[in-house]
Amino acid sequence: MRHGPDDFFTDDRIETRGIDRRLLARLLRYVLPHRRLLAAALAALLCGTACHLAGPYLLKIVIDRHVMTGRLSGMGGWVLLYLGSLAGAMGFLYLQMYAVSILGQRVILALRREMFARMQRLPVVFFDRTPTGRLMTRLTSDVEALQELLSSGLVSTIGDVAVLAGTTAILLWMDLRLALVTFAVLPALVLFVELLKKRIREANREMRRKLARMNAFLQEHVTGVAVVKAFGMEGKSQRRFDALNGEYAAESVRLTNLYSIYFPGVEMLASIAVALLLWRGGVGLLSGAVTFGTLVAFLEYARRFYDPIKDMSDKYNILQTALASSERIFRLLDEEISPEYAESPPEPALDARPPPSPRASGSAAAVPAVEFRDVWFSYPRPAGGETAGGGEGPPVLRGVTFVLEEGRTGAIVGATGAGKTTVLSLLCRFYEIRRGKILLFGRDIREIPREELRGSLALVLQDPFLFSGTVRENVAAGGEAVGAALAAIGVERFTREWGEGLATDVGERGVRLSTGQRQMVSFARALAREPRVLLLDEATSSVDPVTEGRIQGALAGILPGRTALVVAHRLSTVLSADRIIVMHKGKVREMGTHRELLAAEGIYRRLYALQFEEGSGPGAGIPEHF
């Protein structure tokens, strides 16, 4: 069964229903590659359990053969053996724990890598509608919950079962009647644990829910503190917070109460079992039916028997949380990848591919670099809220048709919402178009392998995003022609001012650079790619005059003679374009040069008047931006 895509976005529930076998089976597939580790862990576990269970029996031998008979010779050997069993139990236990944590860490390493790789191949739409935080949770806390399951849940549960079974067998074998006495408390203990376990689990869940609510309230009131202040509602907010805080505290006290009954209660029952054992054992001793050694061994076994029962319910909790997490993880892994990452794109054999040599295309000059043929597109409706997602939104592009010849610069202009940026995204094949065709050098972009398609394009986003690392690394992320790109943009010149030059760390997402500087670096990154077509979404935000001058200078150095499609906001960029494409409400309304379009007295004429013609009044101060 496949979950609807919306489940992924709507729930982050804590609870699950029962235990899903298929889920366990799928999880097991991640464990199997490490079966040798698993085998080692299980072997260590069994050896440890054997040592653990041998201890009391050795004690019995020491007491019965030596202490009670007064024969000291040979006792040292048995004591050494006893020491060996203690050390072995501990040693094997930690060997097993270590093996299991390696196993767990390896599994989640693989899982995390797989999730990340999957994520890289998901369509842009997925990221449009999934909050970053939720995606982060999948790869962090959900994966950690699985690790918890592997390292402290699964194997140690097997250990517990082994200890319980082993103890039961040994006790029954040593003395049937005493064994029955030892187990006498068991029904009461199981009942007690069961009763409390359920309520503890409920209280725990309720407490976490209250905590989540309180934290959500906090987060909201920290981010929205201006609203609280603006209405002078500090007192009201505090009263509401006090209520939430009080509810949480009450719930946690309830949980505390339950635990305060639970732990001492279990210990009490265990002590009562020991008392019963002592009594029956003592009577047996008096009649000679039981030896001292047997009694002491029984006392030790009883302790080992009741220990694992105490934390059985915790294990169940871990298992449930982990299963809920793995369900969410698998849902991410089951998300459909974007079509351009399909295994075998319909590409011709390598050698048979027509060699579209970048620049020297004398005969093929007739083939335009970029062509949009009656392209229709609408963004998928966001899957937020109650409405079912997956539908189409209103059309953003409605029959867009234009061509751009090689070596020319096309400037797309138009009001906000005209669909300018969408044109660039579609050329990169970030989204699938609904109708029509997009051709790059005469080939339908859907038939060009992804690496080739995106390898021949270079995109400069409106909001210049940099990766953490140095300036040089960021430029090199674009392609190999780093030196030429740096020279063309003049990045080196202005990075020198920062002291560390190209080795300057730009910080997370480039925060250490100004907007203008980030723009320059992102220009260089695009040029380093030596793209056949440059896609540039000019920033609308204004920068200081010096940087503005540098950016204009850089653009003047880049654009002439280059195949480029530019969403233009700067007058200088528009003026320098070979062809201006005027978009309006999802349609191409006018096309031509600046002079032609002005003469046409159409939309462009009015857009131009709106944005660029100097106002007569002082202080209107509208920047020179489209």
Partner: protein, 584 residues
Amino acid sequence: MYALCVVGLFVSSVFGLLVPWMTREAVDAVSAARGGGPPGEGRLLRAVGLMVLFSILYAAFRFLSRRSLFVAARDVEREVRGRLFSHVVRLPIRFFHATPTGDVMSRLTNDLSAVWVFLGPGLLMLVGTVISWLLAVAFMLRISPMLTGVSLLIAPAVVYLSREYGRAFHLRHRLVQESLASMNAALQENISGIRLVKAFTLETREEERFSGECERYYRHNLAVARTSAAFHGAIGLLAGVGVALVLFLGGRAVVQGTLTLGGLVAFNAYLAMLSFPTMAMGWVINLFQRGSSAMGRINEFLRLPVEFPEGGTETAGEGKAPVEDSAGSGIGEPPLLEVRGLAFSHGGDGRGEALRGVSFSVRKGEVLGLVGPTGGGKSTLFSLLSGLFPAPPGTVFLEGIDASTIPLPELRRRFAVVSQDPFLFSDSVLENVCFGRGQTDPGAARNATGLARFLAEVEEMPNGFDTVVGERGISLSGGQKQRVTIARALCSGAPILLLDDALSAVDAETEREIFEGILPEKGERTVLFSTHRMASLSRCDRILVLADGRIVEEGTHDDLLSLRGAYFDLYSRQMLARELEESS
């Protein structure tokens, strides 16, 4: 409370330690009887009976002390959290601009739980361990001083090892945390830059990068696991040696008759009881360190000065400042709001808009329009008027009173601000609309929502006014959110309404309707209104054109148009844009 816990812990420890003692009694009774002594049944039964009694008493006192200690710790946690929140929410807005949300949140959550963990489980462990140590050693000494001496030889080694382990663990754990943070940062960066990753076909590079981060995290985690395994192995061996020594020497002593068998059994039980708390001491020390540094960070916030003194100022339950209705607007009476030579700049970084000498006044009931380019100072002006940032003394006057002398909450409650980006709480529509009131009032909410032209849409929602919006509910569009914030402002009943480009996401027709909805009440409500829409501006009594931090033009719509200045320019552009918009 804490004294009671300590007494309870003490009593429960005594009973807990008496249980093995009874084991000794029972075993000794039997061996004495077998050795030809008096018949043992009576003694045996008495010992076993006492054992049951003691375990019940132990459990009861343990329950009481554990419960009271934890409840006390929870109380402290709740109180500190409440105090911290009430303090933080009263810190000046500058604080929130300068402090990352994550930092504030982590003090209110992680740091507080660190304090609780120490005060609850940590303290229980610490006090419990000290008490049972002292008592157990006393019991053990009574059984056999020699065996006690032997086993105590090991104790320092255990404590030393566990402290060393605690240190190593802490160090390695920090590396784990650091690598986790850096892994998360890489992940977050990748998600936010996913378009670039795809555009530049960096998927493989990113995978390698993330893989590297994951591997670092993996290695650090394994280092922690190794440390822990090594430590526990060593401790286990040490404890094993102790137990074996006690068995060997104890066994010999029993044979020689200097120790009873029951004594040996009980001694072993005491040793087992002590081993866990001794190992846990390192952990407790760690908890204490973390708790105290967390408390330090919390205190750091608590020491920051709040923007106004607590208490006393929030008596007006309705959230509406007392307004003197007594006098009509006689001559000579000061204007409702007056601004004189207001100059202001945000901090020293030169960023953000500033005001340079703004002066104007507003009469009661006036509707004043504000217009000008982005960055001209409109939002700053609104923030200063409403006291979000305190205005310098002698610049803003309310009914002739210097605003800087009015307590901030009272000042703020005279203004209802609707800012550019609408912020809603994820709560019901009703609660959101009534946020600015002391009490929730469905009638008033209905009325305000109607004025904000949102009523019909609310009634179509699944639960009407009880529909939860925001993160935990349905998501609203930008225009819907803006109308909720308008309703919220109207519902607050504040006499002065400040609308800071508050209808940008609403279509022109709805803006007109809302505007008209507000107008009939203008006799009592004073409105300051910034917008780019000429249609709304033309309805204002007066318009200020704000550019570059100064008022460049002032007058009615017609006055300003006839000036043929900045306003006229803006007007003609608007007309052009409208024309463009209509031509499709």
